[in-house]
Symmetry: C5
Subunit: 90 residues, 5 copies
């Protein structure tokens, strides 16, 4: 998983039917994370813009969020309240 | 998922039979997205050149678009009509 | 999927038995594609050196080419005859 | 898999229920590894901060750690005690 | 798949039980390959340090090497004896 900040959202009226009812949030990974650019993730926990969240990528997003047959490859699966070593240098 | 612009299409007469009937679009991810170069995605929503689309990657493209046994690893699954924070800086 | 050029091939006599009978081609992605370096892909369509091909990555290569239990993560699944916007700038 | 150093941890009170009971560690891949930035991995072996660990990525993390239906895409699956050629040049 | 050179190995006494009996080799991808840094791969063919090998990544490593429930995301699946165009320029 990676940790990122919710910076926006996307609306798509015409979409795959497996995506109906999903909210698409734009997540910017924190600076030292393995992923460097923005990801569109389905919101699984009620995250809002500005929150720091945990994002699962790949089949984990689909299967771990009961979206088994939806074309989803990223999901917000937690809201980060606390951390050690998240942004500091090694 | 990532958001990108449809910039072209690819024709392959000789191909895996699971791909028969699929339309292959070339998608250029928006500049601040996690993916930086062009992706060939199967069109699942009737997208045209120039449109801004939502692309699902990996097994999500295959399973989420009822192409379970096709060699597909990317699919256009939505057409973006509106967004907050898609292109702006943090 | 990505589009690339077949630039060579690899021979491995000692290999996992699921790979027996497969031809391993070296594919160089076109310059503006999402993948930047060479990939070894199983040939599913009879591609030759110098041809421009469509390559599927990840589980799609395995499952989409009836190689479900083989350790294959990339496959040539089409030969590109024509395209719009494949190499041009946005 | 990649080898990295555990540099911290993340706490998320509001999270997907498949993640209840999991410990989220922040792993910094060693310098010459294929992954360059930090990854949040579920701890499967009781790793502590400062330890050098083996991390499995993708569906392997989920399925290999009996977390089949959890949104987990990275797991610490071993603690490295010894190695040859881990940090040296080629 | 990618082609790389076996440059070392890793020992982990405390590990996920699905990894018992597996040998973890460190593979350095050849210079023009899609993956740029070192990968820890389970050895499926008896590869030794210094050998040039074929590495399968992702679920292919697990499922293609009969390690379906092990947290394995990379495996050495062939030893390269010969090649055309592996290291040359386009």
């Amino acid at each position: 998983m990676i940790v990122g900040k919710v910076v926006g959202s996307v609306v798509a009226t015409r979409k795959n039917e497996g995506l109906l009812g999903s909210k698409f949030m734009i997540v910017e990974p924190l600076e030292n994370m393995e992923k460097r650019g923005r990801i569109v993730a389905v919101d699984n926990v009620g995250a809002g813009i500005g929150e720091i969240v945990l994002v699962a990528l790949g089949s984990a997003a689909r299967i771990g969020c009961a979206l088994d047959t939806a074309p989803v490859d990223a999901a917000i699966v937690g809201i980060v309240d606390d951390s050690i070593g998240l942004t500091e240098d090694k």
